[in-house]
Amino acid sequence: MSLSDVLSPFSAWKNLFRDPVTIPDPLNDRPGAPRYRGFHQNDIEKCIGCGTCEAICQNAAIDMVAVAEIATKPGDSGLRPRIDYGRCCWCALCVDVCMTSSLSMSNEYKWVDHDPDAFCFIPGVDLKHWDSSELGYRRPEGHRLTGIERVAMGELEPEVRADSFVEIVAGYDLEQAKLEADRCVSCGLCVATCPTHMAVPEYIATIRDGDYEQGVRLLYQTNPFSNVCGRVCTHRCETSCAARHEGDPIAIRWLKRHIIDQVTHDRIKQIAAEGRVSKPSGHQVAIIGAGPAGLTAAFDLAKAGHGVTVFEALPAPGGMMRYGIPEYRLPYDKLDEDVDVIRSMGVEIRCNTRVGEDISIDQLREQHDTVLLSIGLHQGRSTRIPGSEHEDVVSAVELLRRITFGERFDVPTTVAVIGGGNVAMDIARSLARMQRQQHGQVGVTLVALEAEDLMLADREEIDEAREEGVVIIPSRGPRQCLIERDALTGLETVHCVSVFDDQGRFAPNYDDSDIQIHDAGLIVEAIGQAADHAFLGESLTEALEWERNRIRIDADGRTSESWLWAAGDAVQGPDVITAVAAGHRIAASMMEAFAGTSAQTH
């Protein structure tokens, strides 16, 4: 017998002072392991009802069901997952794929019930005692089934683009687009947010499949301006994207552009013409204004066999897409392609034809069954500050129009832009380019009423403007234009403390002690636009119902006159895609009006 054999019974005594590892009451207290995949938990406030858990479930154990107390809203379907424990195999793929990490599993594993249907339940809604359990399976840090980061878009560097109107954004190549498309979980939450409800998951799927013609077909079902929207859309869809909760939203806009970039223009025309009614209906429609609202309505109506004539005051069609958006964001030839497809449906566009001068609205009414007003907002608003009547104080829309015309006017070395929205950025960046071309340097100061984080322009516009040398000063209110011996010399601004009052009304509050002078040989006002309704004439203006400065329309875009519809920025802003949606609505409404009535004889 060795010494250790003698001592070992006593060495066990040292364990007396350690915490026991055995469970004192094993019959009642048997917790699952800390990362046990037990019964589900769902944080229903975090859950967005995207249904990705249902899609990944290998056993079809999950249903998406409506829950009374949860409302459907943009970015949240209002549905919540219900799990059938008769089918669940606790693989936890639903937890791993969950786009918001709302879904998890507790370490609880005991559940006894006499009613088999009790095991089909909505976690987080049908309350359970394990709902607040801290332990259980969570998706491990860094473990993701879907890509978190957006595929970076190739863009011209500031030093290359700063003196050029060449398009900045390169567009995805095939490989980049596939990678980005692969991040999409096809939940479709974005579809409701898109004003024209584009079939986003379906067209993104065509990129994964490499079936670009089908992609174009899907785009044209809801939007005849995919070249335009693929470049300049405000992409509100991306604010509803499930991927944005724990990563970058899918680059939906760039993927749309990628699809339309892959198919030849002639083939796009063929695809867009599919289903076109070749037999004329005999109905005639006049559309005033060849912007996105008017041309979308024209596309739908012409495709259905109705006669459409678009009257455009300016030399080329496109409206603000051509005369407002600078070429470096939307090249004219891409806009031309979209318009050409619309023309190929049989739409006649009469440019340089201003209603009220070249033809009267009464004539249009006499010669057509219906008329659409889609005239846009082409008049700049003025600040009306002292000195703003000077000839070198101009509106942004007028200047942008002149740039599109190709006028090569001289830009002074110093320019002040008043306004913090996207139009202000457009003109500031355009003038900065011209200054660089003419003087080799930039001297644009942009003053915005809003504070930096409240400015209305898109963040990327603000950042890119700064990269190109535009000096952006937030929280400045314009006070007066400074004029010396008839020449404009600068802009005086004061600090703007707040823009809105307690009730949320526009009521800027200034600190008069904080004054700045910005040198300016040219001042551009970009504080908003108005429509020019003068051509309507007195009697029609009287007859129409108005809502402040806008013609009143109903949900279908009808005015109070039975023959007249209105759409676009002039009645309902703010962007191209909203105008496209309105164009579809109006075409449908007009066609409803045509149904059952015979065409007028003209």
Binding site: G49, C50, G51, E54, Q58, N59, A60, I62, D63, M64, V65, A66, T72, S77, G78, L79, D84, G86, R87, C89, D117, C120, C187, G188, L189, V191, A192, H197, P201, R585, A588
Partner: protein, 176 residues
């Protein structure tokens, strides 16, 4: 673990060492070398205990991975020995003569993955799946949904809504 790995490498062609914890690491060895490596670990290196034997189905690569987890009680450390085998037909030498418990693991793997271990006691008898005639269920090409649909009656009252369609009904029902 690096010291052990360096010693083993002099006698066996091993893959990379994967150190998961200070007391847990994995090595890969060719199918033909497994038996002699396990014997060496048991008799020379103190890894006397077979903790478990399990498999992973690398369907895309056409392989099964077997993991023999060995424990050295005195040194308080574990070494996982991994072997890759072709998926079809999947067959591996039995080690039930080295550790009798291996027979049970091998019988389970035979049933759940369809990996054969010729000569292993009762290897072809049902383990827990009585009368199973389908694809072994742990193979990744086993379609659990199809199986559930065929074998179990659908639960009454189950229905699901598509988020896109549901949002349309709720938010813009009148539009086509």
């Amino acid at each position: 673990m690096r010291d052990l790995y360096d010693r083993l490498k002099t006698a066996f062609p091993l893959g990379e060492l994967t150190e998961q914890r200070p007391d847990l690491a994995f090595v890969t060895v060719a199918k033909e070398q497994l038996r002699s490596l396990l014997l060496h670990l048991r008799d020379q290196e103190g890894f006397t205990h077979l903790v478990l034997l399990t498999a992973v189905d690398w369907l895309e690569e056409g392989n099964f991975q077997l993991t023999y987890l060995m424990n050295n009680r005195l040194a308080c450390r574990d070494l996982g020995v991994r072997v890759m085998l072709p998926r079809d037909p999947a067959s591996m030498d039995s080690i039930h003569d080295l550790w009798p418990t291996a027979a049970t693991y091998q019988r389970e793997l035979r049933e759940m993955f369809g990996i054969d271990f010729p000569g292993s006691p009762r290897v072809d008898e049902d383990f827990i799946l009585e009368g199973w005639i389908r694809t072994p269920p742990y193979r990744r090409d086993f379609d659990t949904l199809k199986f559930s649909d065929e074998v179990f009656a659908p639960r009454p009252g189950r229905a699901s809504s598509d988020p896109t369609e549901f949002m349309k009904q709720q938010l813009y029902p009148d539009k086509t």
